[in-house]
Amino acid sequence: MFIKQLSVFLENNPGTLRAMTELLGKDGIDLLALSIADTQSFGIVRTIIHSGQVDRALNLLKENGYIAKVNHVICAAVPDKPLGLSSLLAVIEKSCLSVEYMYSFLRAAKPGTAHMILRLDDGKKAEEIFEQNGVVMLSQEDVDGM
């Protein structure tokens, strides 16, 4: 089960993140999760928004000269308590998958759970392994209901 993620390229300069999030915010686009990958010269902003807003956000960004892309990531639910994440990571480790990046939702669909957004080197295989190991994954509908 995959959910949509929006990635945006930003130069590593003061004000670029504010300008980009303001552009989306003014159009009523709600950021449900956000992470920034930074390097010395550039950053990649990754964000999850309601799927009904994805096309609008993408067009808005492109019209304003940003480079943005939509891709698919897995969102796994883990218990919101100490060691809650490690059981998920153990599954990943055992199956020889590797995590390219991971971040979490700002809010939870259900109390007591935390939602981890993951990009793994082999998404298809990860989905199968998570299913076999009983890892709860959020669907796009779950996210849209947040």
Binding site: Q5, I67, K69, R119
Partner: protein, 439 residues
């Protein structure tokens, strides 16, 4: 006469009267034009097109009737179509970066290597070199003419050659100290770096080192840099000028008067032209430097446009040489950059970027000098094709561009990725280069 002791390698040539020189140049020019016309179809066609026959060229003054040659000719007739002799007569190939990724190469006959060696022997002698000297060659030894040129010149004089090639600063200094090197040949920026490292190591020039002079060239430098270098290393810093197409370093050199560079006029004829019209300009006026080789047999160059801007003077020099002097190069008529002694054309970088899939040819070159070493930053605008949600993917693209630039241009560039449309779009010719070096 000045109080300085001026050594001259071949006074009968270097101090010949201007009249004798004129007669010599005219005779050698006639021979070269005939040779070129008979052996190089491209140049023959160019002369025919202009309606010029070898018989029309009688004296040096007639040179203005000859068609020009350009760097692009060396690319278009790469590698051997400009040879005026059979390939079997060629004993050496040297090269430098061209305009589009392929190097340009020049073929030397035994005679040409001799001519070049003598020009470098004169250069080193003018800096005070004799057979008792020890010459450290810290120019790269390879296709680049710097290393072999300095080696051959010092060898011709009978000096002790220390062929270090470029880089490995600690080892350069160790050899300099242990062997008692007296003369250094390298780029002025590397000489400065060596000097500063020597000082940092606590070594004192004049006490721990025996250096007395240096012949520096292959990149533009200033009078202020010369003064700094002379103090830093306690030496006489002399200037060399040259280019692969004509021979290599030693085409012109400064004597200890350090007031312009004597052109080896018994081997080349120098002209200054108006770069826009191609019309010859008189001594003293600034314009584009044009060379005609008159003693080379492998790949003679007739009216080769250097794109370097300078002026000439035939006023007598205190050193006793009669050869005309050229001023420092004050600029270029094209967009060529010299970075760490390497010729770099923005079009080469553009070619790399265009070939890298998905990279828009919107780029900017930022050249600077940090710690006396030239730096090149290539800023590239990000495109959708290059973009990904993972850093690793984008870094791979960046690394690939860096490697391609290194392999095509020959130098390391720092590649940075910028936001789309972040670079100014100008009408007409875009400004692609920001050169922050204080030259």
């Amino acid at each position: 006469m000045s109080e300085k002791k001026h050594l001259i390698y071949r006074p009968e040539r270097e101090c010949m009267s201007r009249d004798e020189l004129h007669a010599w140049q005219s005779e050698k020019l006639r021979e070269t034009v005939q040779r070129e016309y008979d052996n190089v179809p491209m140049y023959r066609a160019r002369m025919d097109e202009k309606g010029v026959k070898p018989a029309d060229i009688r004296t040096v003054e007639d040179i203005k009737y000859l068609p020009f040659m350009q760097k692009t000719d060396l690319r278009d007739y790469y590698p051997f179509d400009l040879l005026a002799c059979p390939q079997s007569e060629i004993v050496r190939i040297q090269g430098s970066s061209g305009t589009t990724g392929k190097p340009i190469v020049s073929g030397y006959t035994r005679n040409d290597v001799d001519v070049w060696s003598e020009m470098m022997a004169r250069t080193l002698t003018a800096a005070g070199c004799t057979k008792d000297d020890k010459v450290q060659v810290a120019y790269g030894l390879g296709l680049f003419t710097g290393g072999f040129g300095a080696y051959q010149g010092a060898d011709r004089i009978g000096a002790m050659v220390v062929p270090m090639s470029s880089g490995n600063t600690q080892r350069q200094i160790m050899m300099m100290k242990d062997l008692g090197v007296t003369l250094l040949c390298c780029t002025p920026s590397y000489a400065t770096y060596l000097g500063e490292t020597i000082r940092e190591m606590g070594l004192v020039p004049g006490k721990d080192l025996k250096l007395k002079a240096g012949c520096f060239g292959a990149e533009p430098w200033t009078e202020a840099m010369r003064v700094h270098l002379e103090e830093l290393l306690g030496i006489d810093a002399c200037d060399i000028y040259g280019l692969t197409e004509i021979a290599g370093p030693g085409v012109a050199f400064s004597c200890l008067e350090k007031n312009g560079m004597h052109i080896n006029e018994d081997q080349v004829i120098a002209e200054i032209i108006d770069p826009a019209t191609g019309e010859p300009l008189p001594y003293g006026e600034s314009g584009e430097l044009v060379f005609t080789t008159i003693t080379k047999t492998g790949m003679p160059m007739l009216r080769y446009r250097t794109h370097d801007i300078c002026s000439l003077t035939d006023k007598p020099c205190e050193c006793g040489r009669t050869f005309a002097r050229m001023s420092r190069i004050t600029g270029r008529t094209d967009d060529m950059l010299i970075i760490r002694g390497v010729n770099v054309f923005p079009s080469q970088i553009e070619t790399v970027l265009v070939k890298t899939q998905g990279v828009a040819p919107h780029y900017m070159l930022i050249v600077d000098r940090v710690n006396n070493s030239d730096t090149l930053e290539v800023q590239v605008e990000m495109t959708e094709e290059m973009f990904s949600d993972t850093v690793g993917h984008i870094e791979n693209v960046r690394r690939y561009i860096t490697e391609q630039i290194k392999s095509v241009v020959g130098i390391h560039a720092k590649v940075t990725l910028n936001a789309p449309k972040s670079m100014a779009r100008s009408e007409g010719k875009a400004k692609r280069v920001i050169d922050n070096r204080k030259l």
